[in-house]
């Protein structure tokens, strides 16, 4: 095996995607709303996410025609139809692969993937982890409702052990994935978690994700009112939620509720009353830490009882993206050969190798 140094492309954020000019009319939420009737169930958490996305996309300042939403299959995957951008409602689990091809072919697009817990983590698990490790320039919104909605209520790969559904009448036996832990383990450069009903937090996280160059994975806890209603009620409820949520703020100690903190204890993290904590042991959040170890440990604070749930950006680091590097290799090959191939270059290629001439 030989290895070689790669060119290091330096684009940042959404650089390369055309922006709305100063003389252009300001884009509004209406510009991003398609004429299609939204057909999710009444009370579905997807409505809140859609409203937030339609509301904040104009603020990104990117031209509407340069934004593409790619989805897979599932309730959330209807998302692209309701946005007046380009979109593809693809097939089950494959959106990250399709989006990878699109993002690599087109530097001038802001490419989004909308997926769910079944779509991303079950049938599409392979494409998801490979998109994450490659760090393709994608923003992935993973709607996690811990259930299969579109197929009417079977357990999903994020359902708790023992979940009783039509396909598991005596309880599911498989260990669920923690999507944040999975993404961190798959070398993701941006991982965050937010809640469908917290419009402000959702918008902040999505904006940071959209500005991230590389794959940004945002897990959105989303309520399914039909098949898994109240799954996140303990953290949505103002009183019970306050004591359980750990809002991650870069550079700040990680607090749970008002009077608990996260401390190092041996190799793991635990939550203790602030009054009992040695100040030196209190975990200070660092989104840009080179190693994902602490972010991973924070993700492991979750448990099915929602005793403490970190929310916000777990990790946000800069690493060259797959698509930038692939394009840099093509550009580099052209530059070192004196520019894009001409007709004469193609003729030379066809005449390459050992040739011989037959004269008439």
């Amino acid at each position: 095996m030989t290895a070689t140094d790669l060119p290091l492309p330096t684009p940042q954020g959404t650089q390369g995607v055309p922006r709305v000019g100063e003389e252009d009319p300001r884009q509004t939420k209406k510009d991003f709303t398609s004429d299609q009737e939204v057909r999710w169930c009444p009370g579905c958490g997807d409505y809140a996410v859609l409203a937030a996305v339609q509301g904040f996309l104009p603020d990104l300042g990117l031209r509407r025609e340069n934004i593409v939403f790619v989805s897979g299959i599932g309730c959330s995957s209807r998302f692209p139809y309701y946005l007046e951008t380009y979109g593809m409602h693809s097939i089950h689990g494959r959106a990250p692969a399709i989006a990878t091809g699109l993002a690599t072919a087109r530097e001038d697009l802001s490419v989004w993937v909308v997926t769910g817990d079944g779509d991303a983590l079950s049938i599409g698990g392979n494409h998801l982890i490979h998109a994450l490790r490659r760090n393709v320039n994608l923003t992935i919104l993973l709607f996690n409702n811990k259930i299969y909605g579109l197929t009417k209520g079977q357990y999903s790969p994020t359902s708790d052990v023992g979940t009783v559904t039509k396909s598991t009448p005596v309880g599911s036996v498989d260990q669920p994935f923690n999507p944040v832990s999975l993404a961190l383990g798959a070398e993701a450069t941006f991982v965050a978690r937010t809640l469908d009903s917290d419009r402000k937090h959702l918008t902040e996280v999505l904006r940071a994700a959209a500005e991230h160059r590389g794959t940004a994975l945002v897990e959105i806890y989303q309520n399914c009112p039909i098949f898994n209603d109240g799954a996140f009620q303990l953290i949505k409820d103002r009183d019970s939620g306050r004591a359980r949520l750990a809002h991650l703020v870069d550079g700040e100690p990680v607090r749970v509720g008002e009077d608990h903190v996260v401390v190092r204890s041996g190799g793991a993290l635990t939550v203790v009353p602030e009054t009992d904590a040695e100040p030196a042991d209190v975990v200070v959040h660092d989104v840009a830490a080179e190693e994902p170890t602490q972010a991973f440990a924070l993700s492991r604070l979750d448990d099915p009882s929602f005793a403490h749930v970190p929310m916000g950006i777990f990790r946000q680091v800069s690493r060259p993206t797959y698509d930038d590097q692939v394009r840099a290799q093509v550009d580099g090959a052209r530059a070192s050969a004196g520019g894009p191939a001409t007709d004469a270059d193609l003729a030379d290629l066809l005449h390459g190798g050992d040739t011989w001439t037959v004269t008439g």
Binding site: P18, S34, Q36, R63, R64, E65, N66, I67, V68, P80, Y81, E84, T85, Y86, G87, M88, H89, S90, I91, R94, A97, I98, A99, T100, G101, L102, A103, T104, A105, R106, D108, L109, N126, H127, H130, V326, R327, Q329, V330, G332, A333, R334, P340, A341, D343, D345, L346, A347, L349, L350, H351, G352, G353, D354, T355, W356, T357, V358, T359, G360
Partner: protein, 640 residues
């Protein structure tokens, strides 16, 4: 100059055979290149095990390379070798059955040890026990001759032994009057950074050549005159190389970037390798996490306005089926290269077969028509790649290209085309709304079709005012909105089919080769069996039989006049390396009583066997009026 007498031959078939690690493929490649430079027509058949290094000296580890070259047009790698180079007992045993009596065997006696003989079940050495007396056997200690020739080199014995394939190549080059310059240049490039290995290989090559000249073991030298070929510049290409060059040329002429999504699989990986080296030509290659990811990436690139291509073999085509269906529904261009191999399942990864035809046509859920085309020779892969891109971009449809292992690895001379002689490829994207909405404002209807082709507009992201959503769920005709309307679904299913059917309007009529004009039997093939079928046809005709031949490059849709052509004949024979898949399609479509000739041995058809069967067909159809059976010695049958 040689002092030995020269004997002129019109054709020769040589098979180099040895252990997987003996470098037989390289030896064959170099001999091919030397032969091409001399102006012979040629055809090659590499045949190697799926194991990278099977246990040394065993039958499963035998790797071979067959080359047929002649002073006239060559159609196949030849049914039977005139010369077998056997580097060990396993190579002899595995190949002897293909060797007609009277043929020449050159065996490396150093490897005929008791241990190696026992490995393949020889009680005694066949070189000594008289069992080979019907063949001309030359036993040579190739290994020790090589080691001796390299005595002064500071290399290990093992390194010296590895040059024995160059010794064999040198000897064969002498025997058939091939020049060494090309191979010398090749070795210089290959061992650029290892001067000692370079000198050793050059010395082995020249020693082999000189040995032929000086030894009394070989009394004559042979030559094969150049074949008449149209004036022009030529090179040899394998099918996979030709496919890659065709794709690059298509990208260049369309002015679009090409994105290949691929997952390594035998025998398709060389397309990925070749294209990966052509970034300069605007080619992006993405090695995906799996076959599904690979086709997804290609389709995503197509959505973005690039030429999306994915390359695979049969098992990969199975995995890509759902995404190809998505491309059917979204009506985006997509080229899928299926370099077929023996199936089902893992099957015979390194052997050839044509058994994916029905999978290509029908291996998806729902009514999911796609264009299917197949190259008929290694260098036809160049033209078929251009045709695939033409159909995909004109009709906004997936196109499945059915090549196979025989074409992929086989090589033949290729007349390098002038760019001006190649078909143009004009691709246009939608740039403006194409309709007026109820409110009088311009709107874009993503499924408003071109009247002639029925293709929908290709509107790529980044185009203001054409924002739209596509997907796998059924869409309303014209507007592209989600639609569950029964009449709309019926209409869309028929429109997608009609669009594919309309491709036939752009296809040339079936070309029938019938020199006497009164043949009553038509032999019809598709894909890689062209060479063997044409060779069999030649045999039949040289024996006085009347037979017409036609070959299909387009499998879906068929050329418009195919039914009419089939009905002109009393019998239609369809040879295929499957159990009769095209025959089934023809019978269903045209109600013609097609006869199948099938073989699924992982190898191309034997022209001689096929000719015998065709003769029988002619006799049955013509009865007493048939011409004489084999009276002349047909040309393909001439052995040295």
């Amino acid at each position: 100059m040689s002092t030995k007498p020269l004997q002129r031959l019109d054709r020769v078939v040589i098979r180099f055979a040895g252990d997987s690690g003996d470098g037989m493929q390289l030896t064959g490649d170099r001999f091919t290149s030397e032969t091409a430079t001399l102006g012979n027509d040629l055809s090659t058949l590499p045949n190697f095990p799926a194991e990278i290094r099977a246990p040394q000296g065993t039958l499963p580890g035998v790797s071979s390379f067959q080359l047929h070259f002649a002073d006239h047009a060559v159609l196949t790698p030849g049914d039977h070798p005139d010369v077998l180079v056997a580097m060990n007992p396993a190579a002899l045993k595995a190949n002897l059955a293909d060797l007609p009596r009277g043929a020449t065997v050159i065996a490396n006696t150093d490897e005929f040890t008791r241990r190696n003989l026992a490995k393949v079940g020889y009680q005694a050495s066949p070189l000594d026990d008289g069992s080979l007396e019907s063949w001309h056997v030359h036993g040579l200690p190739l290994t020790s001759m090589t080691v001796e020739a390299l005595a002064d080199f500071g290399l290990t014995r093992k390194e010296k032994e590895r040059a024995k394939n160059m010794m064999a190549l040198g000897l064969l080059s002498w025997m058939y009057s091939r020049p060494l310059e090309g191979t010398e240049a090749f070795l210089r490039a290959k061992f650029d950074r290892a001067p000692e290995l370079l000198e050793a290989n050059l010395a082995a090559l020249r020693t082999g050549f000189n040995y032929g000249e000086t030894t009394e073991d070989f009394a004559v030298r042979f030559e094969v005159a150049p074949a008449p070929m149209a004036p022009g510049t030529y090179r040899t290409l394998t099918g996979n190389q030709a496919m890659a060059l065709g794709l690059v040329t298509a990208a260049h002429r369309s002015g679009l970037p090409l994105v290949l999504g691929s997952y390594p699989i035998t025998p398709a990986s060389d397309v990925l390798h070749a294209l990966s080296a052509l970034k300069r030509h605007g080619i992006t290659t993405l090695q995906a996490e799996d076959e599904i990811g690979a086709v997804g990436m290609a389709l995503g690139a197509s959505f973005g306005g690039a030429l999306g291509v994915t390359s695979t073999s049969g098992p990969g085509l199975a995995l890509k089926a759902e995404t190809i269906g998505l491309a059917v529904a979204t009506e985006l261009p997509l080229v899928v290269l299926d370099i077929q191999r023996g199936g089902p399942s893992t099957g015979l990864p390194t052997k050839t077969e044509q058994a994916d035809l029905l999978q290509a046509l029908h291996g998806r859920n729902g009514e999911s028509p796609v264009a299917v085309i197949a190259p008929q020779s290694p260098t036809d892969c160049f033209d078929i790649a251009l045709e695939a891109i033409r159909i995909a971009t004109t009709y906004r449809t997936p196109v499945i290209v059915l090549s196979d292992g025989y074409l992929a690895n086989g090589s033949e001379p290729w007349a390098v085309p002038e760019l001006d002689d190649l078909p143009g490829l004009d691709v246009t994207f939608a740039t403006a709304p194409n309709a007026t909405g109820e409110d009088g404002q311009p709107v874009f209807h993503p499924f408003l079709r071109d009247e002639q082709t029925l293709a929908r507009p290709w509107a790529v992201p980044g185009t203001a005012g054409l924002e739209h959503r596509i997907g796998g769920i059924e869409k309303a005709d014209v507007t592209g909105h989600i639609s569950y309307d029964p009449d709309n679904h019926d209409r869309m299913v028929r429109l997608r089919q009609a669009k594919i059917d309309r491709i036939a309007e752009t296809l040339p009529p079936v070309e029938v080769d019938d020199p006497t004009g009164d043949a009553r039997v038509l032999v019809l093939g598709w894909g890689s069996s062209y060479g063997p079928i044409a060779a069999a046809t030649r045999l039949v005709r040289s024996a006085g039989g009347r037979i017409a031949q036609a070959h299909l490059r387009h499998l879906n849709p068929f050329p418009a006049d195919l039914g009419e052509v089939l009905r002109r004949y009393d019998r239609v024979v369809v040879p295929e390396m499957n159990l009769g898949q095209l025959a089934m399609l023809l019978r269903a479509r045209y109600l013609v009583d097609v006869r199948s000739h099938t073989a699924v041995r992982g190898l191309p058809f034997s022209a001689a066997h096929l000719a015998e069967d065709l003769h029988r067909d002619i006799l049955e159809v013509e009865g007493d009026t048939a011409g004489p059976a084999t009276t002349d010695t047909p040309r393909e049958e001439v052995t040295r």
